[in-house]
Symmetry: C3
């Protein structure tokens, strides 16, 4: 019974723009989730932790306490992760509303592809790191695409 | 073909509450995105950066290294930005589900307007800054509205 | 008129998987919002604030300035809050797309319940704190469930 309903809903949302949104949103969210693993990798290899309970395996007292510290590489990944949150959250919301606002498929795909590509480039630019303005430009590309989608949403749906 | 489908989906979601949600969500997300530009403005004017590659244009070695520092104004904008994330993410999710839970249009508009107004006031209160409890009250208004919408969602849809 | 439309839309999304998603998403977002209150509680009881205007009630000048400081308990809650953002934002997006991708109700419920349970356990493990690997395992459970849902979304909808 639930299977039927689900099928019906799926047919209903049998909309190529919506599924393009689904694909690119899933990709950028998975990319963002990867930052957690990279942070964990650097915390373990650099032995730089934020919580006393995380250093318990290194012994007790002073011997473990020295691993409660910040590390430049860990902080770099964390800044990249926060930048992802700041930029992917707007895409999540505005992109969904944009996909439902009836854009042309080719136009929508162009927006989604530029956004996803820009965020992937941004991560490489941040983590390698590449010299500026690599990171700045990749950030700006994703930002501008989101603004353009927001404009389309407001033009279509403005209801104050 | 895609155009037709998109039109069909748009008609389907020809729901005033949904489009009110779309409008106010886009507004608060754009407001949140503005925090990135304000952070960049303060980083550049206060010369306070987080990444060595961002200071490369100020020369090499020690002359550039002194710009790798925190600045009170930059940190203030960043706290405002994080507070936006912490409060707008719940609105994004709970607001969407609330819009789909069949509220009265006038009630829904009241919730969305208070939330958007509260977050805009919160930003002014944080950045000027205004004396407390300005920031506290504007934060609380958005928080309470989100809780009220969550209650309506759970009352309508509770499915554990 | 709006009421009718809303009813129609509600019937349309008369999908058990979708409402299960709505319920669990609302629960985890409310849980995340609770972190703001816990942060405020520790800031007030530990007298550890981030903004000068927050300490104005303690007097002027040096007597208030000493409360502008970080506190281990406050920072711990803030790390838990940020970890929520990093993990609940992917669930918000991927979970919605997963719910619309036509999964079996029982399978979907299993995913949503494990995710919500894992995030609640994670909060207890972080705030008490429990010895590791409690926090690590609860984090990993939510992470893996989100990856599995993303895989189902991409398998159903891949549209590059």
């Amino acid at each position: 019974r639930s299977g039927e309903m689900a099928t019906k809903l799926t047919q209903l949302i049998d909309n190529e723009v919506f599924w393009a949104y689904a694909t690119y949103t899933t990709i950028v969210l998975l990319k963002m989730m990867l930052m957690s693993l990279i942070t964990a990798y650097f915390r373990i290899t650099r032995k730089a932790f934020a919580n006393p309970e995380d250093t318990a395996s290194f012994g007790k007292g002073e011997s473990a306490k020295k691993y409660l510290r910040t590390d430049a590489d860990v902080e770099r990944v964390r800044r990249g992760h926060l930048n992802d949150l700041e930029n992917i959250v707007p895409f999540l919301g505005i992109g969904l509303l944009y996909a439902l606002s009836g854009p042309e498929l080719s136009t929508a795909l162009l927006h989604f592809r530029i956004f996803a590509g820009a965020r992937i480039l941004h991560t490489f630019a941040y983590l390698i790191p590449l010299p500026q303005p690599s990171r700045g430009l990749s950030w700006a590309a994703g930002y501008v695409v989101t603004i353009l989608m927001a404009y389309k949403v407001l033009k279509t749906t403005l209801y104050l």
